[in-house]
């Protein structure tokens, strides 16, 4: 543990997962690896979209607080991860600097990875649990 202010890789990232245990684990791993100064946590796609929408209204400030990486779970009730990405790309992509989209799922189902690739080649597809090695590549 370093006493000195650690150097973070990113300023703002967001975790989106309906399972609080998952969010807890992911948050702790991000912290331990000094991945981001600020970590936003959302437990539903709907609230995440609202949260991001609110940021857009903040004008200049937005660029300082807007997340640079989005970690998105796939399997969520009401609106799943893919639906969130579709929605996000439609409503947010043109408006702010595009954050990195990372799908972080427990799914090892090949079709999910394929579907992510079909939406965009830039989407990073990761299997839980999150590790340092994975974070180094983002």
């Amino acid at each position: 543990m370093k006493i000195k202010e650690p150097k973070y890789k990113y300023n703002n990232v967001m975790l989106l997962d309906d399972n609080e245990l998952d969010n807890f684990i992911n948050e702790k791993i991000l912290e331990a690896n000094h991945f981001s100064k600020k970590i936003y946590v959302n437990t539903s796609a709907k609230s995440a979209l609202e949260f991001l929408g609110n940021m857009l209204t903040m004008g200049e400030t937005c660029t300082h607080v807007y997340p640079e990486v989005l970690f998105i779970d796939i399997n969520m009730p009401i609106m799943d991860g893919f639906q969130f990405i579709e929605n996000f790309k439609k409503n947010f992509e043109q408006k702010v600097k595009q954050p990195k989209l990372v799908i972080l799922t427990s799914s090892v189902y090949h079709e999910d990875k394929q579907r992510a690739g079909e939406i965009s080649k830039d989407i990073v597809f990761l299997n839980k649990p999150l590790t340092q090695a994975m974070l180094d590549k983002i």
Binding site: N19, L21, I25, K28, I29, K128, P129
Partner: protein, 641 residues
């Protein structure tokens, strides 16, 4: 020699034409005798040109160069005799009269010479007979030559006719008035195999096919009555090899012709033609049989779309379609249901324009209301010059095939759906197993790699581990339950009363019903029983009722209505509530999914509706849902009875 014949017209007893000069070769060694002969000829007013040969050489030269009309010859000559002279003449090939003019010879010698071929003989002391002897001899030879010429002509003619008869393929048989064969041409042997020896003098009727004999006799009698008219048709006649040959020909009555004195029958083998005709008749009969007995309806239509011809099946098919009976000469379109006429016109015009066949499948409601499927094929019909004469419209009832096809399509759809369900199941299970496992790995990693984490975090990690292991176990139990349920299809069926079923469920959740003030209305008047697997039906009712309670609208009094109905041959169960409802637009295809939840505030695994749907389907039924957010939800279940 023809020239002689021409110069000396032969008329017995009439003097020769005195203008004609007769060339006479006289063989005589004595000049005095030669002079005597000349004198006698002149005396006899014979106009002649004479040459005198006194030896063999002169005789031979004169025969060749002088070309005499007649030879007069002395018998005894110094170098040769009259016998030699006659031989020389014969060898020369000339047929001219040879008269022996000699002194006394023996009677035997004269007879011998006559046999050798002399035409006359004159004794030298009776020379006065010489002129008439010369003329007679010339006349005799000339007559002989005429006769010979006549014979030759006859022989040639006979040869020509024979060649003709023997070489024509038409066979000729001549029979007498009794019907016996008196002549058969060589071609007859070729046609029927019998040689003349085997047929001559046998009755011609013994050669006919037994069935044709009577007819042949009638023909024969007819020919007997009407000599001028050749008669005959085709008959079967026995061949030597035992087979019968079809022959056709004419019989001509030539009884009055002395040379024939019978009936001439000309005939030829027409077996091949007869066989071909028979085959054609057979094949036409076969075609007609096939045409009228096939399951295909055929209508032959002219270019102007007039019906030319149709088969039995077509009558039936068009009767089925429009209730009209096909009639030749009427318009095809009159037999097509009005709503299909435009389509049919298009297709037919295209076939006529392009000259290629077209086909389509069409369904028509039959008189009894069921749907009949037809496969229709329209083919162009061409003449030899490839001009389109018309079309053939073939129609086949393919209802059975089509139904099988549709059934197969449905089965395929069902299978695909089933497979999708399985995939979905596998997906969900993998996710739901994988998810707690990933958490266990994550948490244990944290405990391992973050020794200096706070106590609160550590406790949270431990709680998380316990929760994840529990979740893993739950999922495995669910999985086992679902698989178990799918196997229980063999469970015994029994009569289940809906009213009793609902009463049991109410009892089991009476606390909840009382606490939440739930109103349940049931209506099982129309039908209250169902022969089924009780545990499944119980599970279906229980899940739907408990869902209605779970997702009730907190602002309203919760009302659950359950109703049974008979719909045709189906049992219809309706579950209706006034609860929160589901957003159908967003979740229609997920409602019955495993581990799908539409409300986050309420405890639940998202298994209830998955189980309901699975059980309904195992019992052979279907389930549908209608819902509006904040208004309520209605599930409709249908079971075949």
């Amino acid at each position: 020699m023809t020239s002689v014949v021409e110069r000396i017209p032969v008329k017995t007893g009439t003097p020769l034409n005195m203008n004609k000069t007769i060339k006479i070769l006289h063989v005589e060694d004595l000049e005095t005798d030669a002079e005597l002969v000349k004198r006698e000829l002149k005396k006899g007013k014979i106009n002649f040109q004479g040459i005198w040969a006194s030896n063999r050489a002169e005789y031979e030269n004169a025969l060749r160069d002088f070309d005499p009309d007649i030879v007069l010859c002395d018998h005894s000559l110094p170098s040769f005799t009259s016998t030699d002279a006659l031989m020389i003449l014969k060898e020369s090939g000339k047929r001219i009269p040879f008269i022996l003019v000699t002194a006394t010879v023996s009677e035997e010698f004269v007879v011998a010479m006559m046999k050798e071929g002399i035409d006359d003989y004159i004794l030298k002391d009776r020379l006065s007979r010489l002129p008439s002897a010369v003329l007679n001899a010339l006349e005799k030879v000339s007559a002989e030559k005429d006769k010979e010429k006549f014979y030759n002509e006859i022989i040639n003619q006979e040869k020509r006719f024979r060649a003709l008869i023997e070489n024509i393929s038409e066979a000729i048989v001549v029979i007498n008035a009794d019907g016996k064969i008196t002549y058969q041409s060589p071609s007859a042997s070729r046609v029927l195999g019998f040689l003349p020896d085997e047929t001559i003098n046998r009755s011609i009727f013994s050669f006919f096919h037994p069935s044709d004999v009577e007819e042949a006799k009638l023909n024969f009698e007819e020919a007997n009555r009407q000599p001028e008219t050749p008669l005959w048709e085709s008959f079967r006649v026995k061949h030597k090899n035992g087979n019968y040959v079809w022959v056709e020909g004419t019989i001509t009555n030539l009884l009055q012709e002395e040379s024939v004195n019978g009936f001439v029958i000309n005939y030829r083998d027409i077996t091949e033609r007869k066989i071909a005709e028979q085959m054609l008749r057979d094949s036409e009969a076969n075609l007609s049989t096939v045409f009228n007995n096939t399951d295909m309806a055929y209508v032959l239509v002219s270019k102007e779309l007039n019906i030319v011809s149709f088969n039995h099946r077509a009558t039936g098919v068009y009767l089925e379609q429009t209730g009209k009976k096909l009639k030749e000469g009427t318009i095809l379109l009159d037999y097509i249901p009005v709503e299909h006429q435009a389509f049919m016109t298009d297709v037919v015009n295209n076939v006529l324009a392009e000259g290629v066949k077209e086909g389509f499948e069409k369904s028509y409601p039959a008189v009894n209301g069921s749907l009949i499927w037809y496969e229709v094929c329209i083919l162009p019909v061409f003449d030899e010059a490839q001009n389109i004469l018309g079309i053939i419209v073939s129609t086949e009832d393919i209802t059975e095939r089509k139904n099988t096809e549709l059934e197969r399509e449905k089965m395929t759809t069902d299978l695909i759906q089933h497979n999708k369900n399985l995939e979905q199941f596998a997906y969900i299970i993998s996710h739901n197993l994988r998810s707690p496992v990933a958490n266990i790995i994550g948490l244990s990693n944290m405990i391992q790699t973050m020794p200096d984490m706070s106590e609160a975090d550590f406790d949270r990690c431990m709680d998380g581990l316990v929760l994840s292991v529990k979740k893993l176990d739950d999922t495995i139990i669910d999985l086992n339950y679902i698989l178990q349920m799918r196997r229980e299809i063999n469970e015994k069926k029994e009569v289940v009363r809906f009213s009793a079923l609902v009463k049991d469920i109410r009892t089991s959740i009476s606390n909840l019903i009382e606490k939440e003030n739930i109103t349940m209305k049931t209506s099982f008047l129309e039908v209250n029983e169902f022969f089924t697997i009780k545990s499944y039906l119980n599970s279906i009712f229980y899940n739907l009722i408990s869902n209605s309670i779970k997702y009730r609208n907190p602002d309203k009094l919760c009302i659950i209505e359950i109703e049974s109905k008979l719909k045709g041959n189906k049992l219809c169960l309706i579950f209706r509530d006034n609860g929160l409802g589901i957003d159908m637009g967003a979740h229609r295809d997920k409602i019955f999914g495993l581990y799908k939840k539409f409300h986050t505030h309420i405890e639940g695994k998202g298994m209830g509706l998955y189980m309901v749907k699975t059980q309904v389907e195992i019992l052979g039924g279907t389930i549908n849902v209608q819902s509006k957010v904040n208004e309520g939800t209605q599930f409709t279940i249908e079971f075949p009875l």
